[in-house]
């Protein structure tokens, strides 16, 4: 809950009673069923759950990226703008002015045909109408802000010349270019090695601090979520089954599904006595 009395009232992202159905008649499937989630400025909210539980789908509704033919009910408000039932203009405004998204595989999500500088600058050039020179200058400071060394040289390189970790930083820089208030990170560290993962996580936490970003962080990794997020939402088959402060959820899970998730974590398995293969039920 935000008790603040700033210009911005309420959380940056507020999802309430969100229901998402795809298909018709026999093939109709309910993918999200009454999802609620909020994220305030300066807050990192973790969204965890097994594969197919609807984490990505929830996140994507916040930038108007529901699949074709999906039916949405409920409410998704981003900086006060309602996206459920919104027209294309409203969706574009949210994408341009409020929300940004980063993904699991930066190599696929960065345009391989553009130099890094041009890729990052595009946000400013295409949605703000900035000139080339002005955008290029801003790009250098953005690349610097996300911790990339030698930004001037880097801006001239192509994505295939960079490592996955560097590319994820480039993605973050491009996401930041339009000064969003909400950053949606869909498994943004899953594909990275442990060290790089920790660095990116550290970067996100710093940005939350310095820019007052609201960050929704989707992950499979409950350990990571507990360590890095303020609050955690646990999803199972399209429903948020448990939510609360990160440590509470991690240490005193109330829902059996959360406990099951926690038990399935490799770190927990290591800590306890190994279960014999084919052991007792």
């Amino acid at each position: 809950m935000s008790g603040s009395t700033q210009m911005v009232d309420g959380p940056v992202l507020a999802i309430e009673q969100l229901r998402l159905d795809v298909g018709t008649g026999e093939t109709a499937v309910r993918i999200l069923d009454g999802v609620g989630l909020s994220c305030a400025a300066g807050e990192i909210v973790g969204l965890v759950g097994e594969s197919g539980s609807g984490k990505s789908m929830t996140l994507r509704t916040a930038v108007g990226l529901a699949p074709k033919g999906a039916r949405l009910t409920g409410s998704v408000r981003v900086a006060g703008r309602e996206l459920v039932g919104a027209g294309r203009r409203e969706v574009l405004r949210v994408r341009r002015e409020v929300a940004a998204m980063i993904f699991q595989d930066p190599r696929a999500h960065v345009n391989p045909y553009q130099r890094i500088g041009a890729f990052v600058a595009d946000g400013l050039r295409r949605t703000r109408g900035w000139g080339r020179a002005r955008a290029a200058q801003q790009v250098v400071s953005l690349l610097d802000e996300v911790g990339l060394p030698d930004p001037e040289t880097l801006a001239d390189r192509y994505p295939h010349e960079l490592s996955g970790g560097m590319l994820q930083r480039v993605m973050i820089a491009s996401a930041l270019s339009t000064e969003p208030r909400l950053l949606l990170a869909d498994e943004a560290t899953t594909a990275l090695d442990v060290t790089t993962q920790a660095e990116i996580m550290g970067l996100l936490r710093r940005l939350r601090e310095e820019r007052g970003l609201a960050i929704v962080f989707v992950t499979h990794d409950l350990d990571l979520a507990a360590a890095s997020c303020d609050r955690i939402h646990v999803m199972q088959s399209g429903v948020v089954v448990e939510q609360g402060p990160a440590l509470d959820v991690f240490e005193r899970p109330e829902h059996p599904y959360t406990r099951k998730l926690l038990d399935a974590m490799p770190s927990r398995l290591d800590a306890e006595a190994p279960t014999p293969i084919g052991g007792a039920a």
Partner: protein, 318 residues
């Protein structure tokens, strides 16, 4: 720099080899073909044995095959393709007088192919649905229809019935020439445009589904920016490769189209020359066609790393 120059030198070398091999094959084919060139020259006229012999001497027809070939090749490398048997005129002059018509026709067709093929291909990929379905049906028919059938259909509809375009001749002056060349260019372009359309469509559907295009959407780019600024850049790469082949291939189809529309280009020249066994002309035209084909392949190959950053010399210093 040398990492760039060496492959180029290799390509130019193989270009020369291809041309040499082509010249040999074409020369051999003409040599083996039935009928002799001088019999065309003397047809209908009574000539003395001496005249006949003079012709045979001039074209070295009594020499063995290999020395005929070498003599001819020696001239070709100096730009001398010999005398046309039919026109009694240097082949190089003859060809030079015919090239402008063909160049304009092929250029016109190439523009039609690229503009129509790429635009409609992108449109079909973006809109899908009815536009896409129509484009698929029309392009399938277009690809399957031989160019002479298209040429005759166009002539009977737009030249004979409607009278919008002339059915014959190349015209005078640029505007008039374009008007005269419109139907031939459409006939020449149609099946290639359909092929380019289909390739563009498939490639763009793939590109529009790429994750980086989704990134552009999430960033709030307008639809046209997403399509032309992001998806198109990658989607066009296979089309460029294909276009090089298809456009140089027009030089082959133009033999038919120029003949049907009575145009004095090098395509109709080739057909005439083959009919009368005017072998210096046949040789020269075929060599030119093959050279254009190989050269445009070279250009496409050199263009590929420019279009595809990931294909640029790995490890080569830049």
């Amino acid at each position: 720099m040398s990492a760039w120059l060496l492959p180029l030198a290799r390509r130019v070398g193989s270009l020369a080899l291809v041309l040499l091999a082509t010249s040999f094959i074409v020369f051999g084919a003409m040599y083996l073909a039935p009928g002799s060139p001088e019999s065309f020259l003397v047809r209908g006229n009574s000539v003395t044995q001496e005249t006949l012999q003079a012709i045979r001497d001039q074209y070295h027809l009594d020499e063995p095959f290999l020395s005929q070939y070498v003599l001819w090749l020696g001239g070709v490398v100096q730009g001398d393709f010999g005398l046309s048997i039919q026109f009694r005129q240097p082949v190089s002059e003859l060809i030079a007088s015919r090239v402008p018509t063909t160049a304009l026709l092929v250029g016109y067709a190439a523009v039609l192919i690229l503009v129509v093929g790429v635009l409609v291909g992108v449109l079909a990929a973006v809109k899908r649905g009815g536009v896409d379905g129509t484009a698929i049906v029309v392009s399938t028919v277009a690809m399957a229809t031989p160019s002479f059938v298209v040429a005759m259909a166009l002539t009977s509809l737009f030249a004979v019935t409607l009278g919008w375009f002339p059915a014959f001749g190349a015209g005078e002056g640029f505007g008039d020439r374009l008007w005269h060349l419109t139907l031939p260019a459409v006939a020449l372009a149609l099946s290639s445009a359909a092929l380019v359309l289909r390739t563009t469509r498939t490639s763009m559907i793939g590109a529009l589904g790429k994750e980086y295009v989704e990134t552009a959407r999430v960033r709030g780019f307008s639809s046209s920016r997403v399509v032309w600024g992001q998806a198109f850049r990658g989607g066009i790469v296979p089309v460029v490769t294909l276009a090089g082949l298809v456009i140089s291939g027009l030089l082959v189809t133009t033999t038919i189209v120029e003949t049907v529309f009575g145009l004095n280009g090098i395509g109709s020249l080739l057909v005439q020359a083959v009919n009368v066994k005017d072998f210096p002309v046949v040789q020269a035209v075929i060599l030119i066609i093959v050279a254009v084909f190989v050269l445009s392949n070279l250009v496409v190959d050199l263009l590929y790393p420019v279009l595809e950053p990931r294909a640029r010399a790995k490890g080569g210093a830049r």
